[in-house]
Symmetry: C2
Subunit: 352 residues, 2 copies
C-alpha cells in the first residue's frame, strides 16, 4: 500500500520485527510511502509519527510533495538521521539491509552506539511488489507511450542508420509523447552488438541482414515501462530466424506460466527448459525477468535462484534472449500483470 496507508500498515509490522521504527534510505521506497520524488533523503516511520528528512536542495519540493508529513532539513545526512532516531528514543530501529552502505551503517552506529539496528531484507523489498489500480494505470500509460514512440521511430530502422541516432530519436519521441523520463538508457544493438545483452548504442550503422534489439521504456509518474523487441533488417539468415522462433515460443510459454501462486523460479524453469530443448540453452545467459514499477528492476526476480512467489497485482517482465557471440542475438520482452488465472500483457508493440 502506498502513501499514508502504507505507512500505517508498516506500523502493524513493527512489533513482529521487534523494532520501534523503520528507517528508509531507498528512494523508491521513500517515494512510494510519501510521494517525495527527490534523489536523496531518509524516512522514519514509527508507531507514533513519521518524519521525512532531506537536504536543502529538496526542502521546498518535499514539503510540496509529501503532504501532511513532517519534513526536516539536514545539513549532514548521518547527523540528521542520528538526531531524529535519538529523539525518538527507540531501542531498536529496522532498516533496508540493501539500502544502506556499509560505510553509512558504521557511521550511524558510531553516532548511536546504544541503538540496535536491525537489517530487514525481503520484508521491505516486497513492499512495492503488488501494484494498485493507479500504479497499473501508470504502467499501462507508460507502455502505451512506449509503443507510440517505437512506431514513430520504426521508419529509421533501416540500413545506414547509426544505433545512437535511432536511440536518440526514440528517446526524443518518448519525451514528446509525454514520458517524464526514459526508464533506463535505451539499448539499440545491431548485428554483432545484438550478441551483447546490455550493449550501449554506438556509432555502428545498421546493416542489411542485421538483427536489431531495441530495449527501452517511458516513465509516467515515476512508473517505468520496460519492453524489448528484436527486428530483422532484410534477410537475417536461417540461424537467426530459427533463434527468433525459439525465443518467441519460449517467451509465450513463459507468459502462459505466469499466474498468482506460481513460483518465480518455475517461470524461469519453463522458459529455460524450452530454450535448452531447442538446443540454445548455453546462449540464454540471464534471468527470465523481474518486477517493474518505480524501479526498472525490483522485487521479485524471475531466475533460477529466485525464492519469490507470484502474487495477484505484481507486474513482471518475461524476457528470454539468445545471444550468439560475433553473430547477433534475439531478445523479446513484455511487461505483464499477474492475475489469479494468468497474465495480462501490458506492452503491446508489434513483434517482428
Amino acid at each position: 500500500m502506498r502513501g499514508a496507508a502504507g505507512r500505517r500498515s508498516l506500523r502493524e509490522d513493527l512489533e513482529r520485527w521487534g523494532a520501534g521504527a523503520v528507517l528508509f534510505l531507498d528512494m523508491a521506497n521513500i517515494r512510494y510511502l510519501t510521494g517525495f520524488s527527490g534523489s536523496d533523503g531518509a524516512l522514519v516511520v514509527s508507531g507514533t509519527a513519521d518524519l521525512l528528512l532531506v537536504d536543502g536542495r529538496y526542502t521546498t519540493q518535499a514539503r510540496g510533495q509529501a503532504d501532511g508529513l513532517e519534513v526536516r532539513e539536514y545539513r549532514d545526512k548521518v547527523e540528521g538521521i542520528a538526531s531524529a532516531l535519538s529523539e525518538g528514543g527507540w531501542g531498536s530501529v529496522a532498516f533496508e539491509s540493501w539500502g544502506m552502505t556499509f560505510e553509512f551503517y558504521e557511521k550511524l552506529r558510531g553516532r548511536l552506539p546504544g541503538l540496535d539496528l536491525r537489517p530487514l531484507g525481503d520484508d521491505l523489498r516486497r513492499l512495492r511488489a503488488v501494484k494498485d489500480d493507479e500504479e497499473i494505470a501508470c504502467l499501462k500509460e507508460a507502455a502505451r507511450i512506449s509503443r507510440e514512440a517505437l512506431l514513430q521511430t520504426l521508419p529509421l530502422l533501416r540500413p545506414g542508420t547509426e544505433e545512437r541516432v535511432l536511440a536518440a530519436e526514440l528517446e526524443y519521441r518518448l519525451r514528446l509523447l509525454g514520458a517524464e523520463d526514459v526508464s533506463f538508457p535505451t539499448i539499440v544493438a545491431s548485428g554483432p552488438n545484438a550478441a551483447l545483452p546490455h550493449a550501449r548504442p554506438g556509432e555502428r550503422r545498421i546493416g542489411e541482414g542485421d538483427a536489431v534489439i531495441v530495449d527501452y521504456g517511458a516513465v509516467v509518474k515515476g512508473y517505468r515501462a520496460d519492453e524489448t523487441r528484436t527486428f530483422f533488417v532484410g534477410d537475417a539468415g536461417r540461424e537467426l530466424k530459427d533463434v527468433y522462433e525459439v525465443v518467441r515460443e519460449a517467451q509465450e510459454t513463459g507468459i502462459a506460466a505466469v499466474k498468482a501462486g506460481v513460483s518465480c523460479r518455475y517461470v524461469d524453469d519453463v522458459v529455460r527448459e524450452y530454450i535448452v530443448s531447442r538446443g540454445w540453452g548455453s546462449y540464454f545467459t540471464h534471468g527470465t525477468g523481474h518486477g517493474v514499477g518505480l524501479e526498472v528492476h525490483e522485487y521479485p526476480r524471475l531466475g533460477p535462484l529466485s525464492e519469490a512467489v507470484l502474487e495477484e497485482g505484481m507486474v513482471v517482465t518475461v524476457e528470454p534472449g539468445v545471444y550468439l557471440p560475433g553473430r547477433g542475438g534475439v531478445r523479446i520482452e513484455d511487461m505483464v500483470l499477474v492475475g489469479k488465472d494468468g497474465a495480462r500483457i501490458l506492452t503491446r508493440s508489434p513483434k517482428g
Copy 2:
C-alpha cells in the same frame, strides 16, 4: 592512474592497508581500472593477479573491453566473489566501504567467516580524483558538445515552450552531436520551479518574465560534463536580476579561489560568505560544487563539511545558487580544471 597502471599502483598500497587484495564493487572504479563499462560486476586486485567477475549478460563485453585481464562469469554474485577470494587465500581483503551494501557485507561475511574484510573510505574514493590528459580531453569534448547542443536549443527558450519539450530537444541535440548519453536527467526549471534546485522538467510552459534554470551535460567515453545556466525570458524583475548578479559574482569569486593546495572548504567559504554578505545567505541551500568524471558527483565535495584539498588535475564544479520559494531561482555552474596557479574553465556556454 587508470587501467593496468592504476592496478599496479594499487598493489603498492596493499601493504599499507594490511590487505592481500582489494575487492571493488563500485562500477565507476571498475571501469576506471579495467575499461569494462557494464552496469554490474566485481574486480579483485591483488599482489599477484587481477580478476574481473561479471554475470552472463556481460561476459562477451567484458572480455572485449578489459583487454588482458582474466574475466570470470558468475551465476550468483556473492558466491562468485566468495569463491574468488577463497581461492586467493588472502587473510584480509580491503573493500570500498561506500560501494558495498550492508546486506552484501553480511552475505559475504557469512560465506567467508575467516576473512578479515577491511573497509576503506577516502583512500579508494580519491582513486579517480586527479584526471590525466586523456580524461581531460573527454571532459572538454563533453563540454563542447554540451555547449553546441544548448546553442541549438536556445531558440525554443521562449514563452509557451513546455519545460519537458525543451529538455527533450536538448537531450536529442546532445545525442545527435555525439554524446553517448546524458550525464544525468536534464533539469529545465522555469518560474517558481526554478526555486527547486533539483526540479524535474514538467508540463509547465515557460512564461514571460521567468528565470529558467538549465542543468545538463553530455557523456563522452563515460566522462560527464556538468553545466548550469540561468536565462531570463523577458523582464524577470528587479529582485531576480539582483540575485543573478550576486550568484554570478559569487561564482566568479569561487572560481578565482580554485587552485592546487587550497582546501575545498575554503572555496565553499568564499562563495558562501559572498552570498551572505549580499543578504541572500539563507537561500543558498546546497554545497558549492563537486568532483566530476566517470560519475557526475564524485570526490571531492566542495562544501562546508568537506575535508578534501584541491590537487592539480582535479576537475570540479563551482555552482552557487539562490532560490526564492514560490518566486524563482538562479544557479550558475561551470566545470573547472584545477591547476597549480588557478582554475581553467571547461564549460563555455554563454551566460545570461
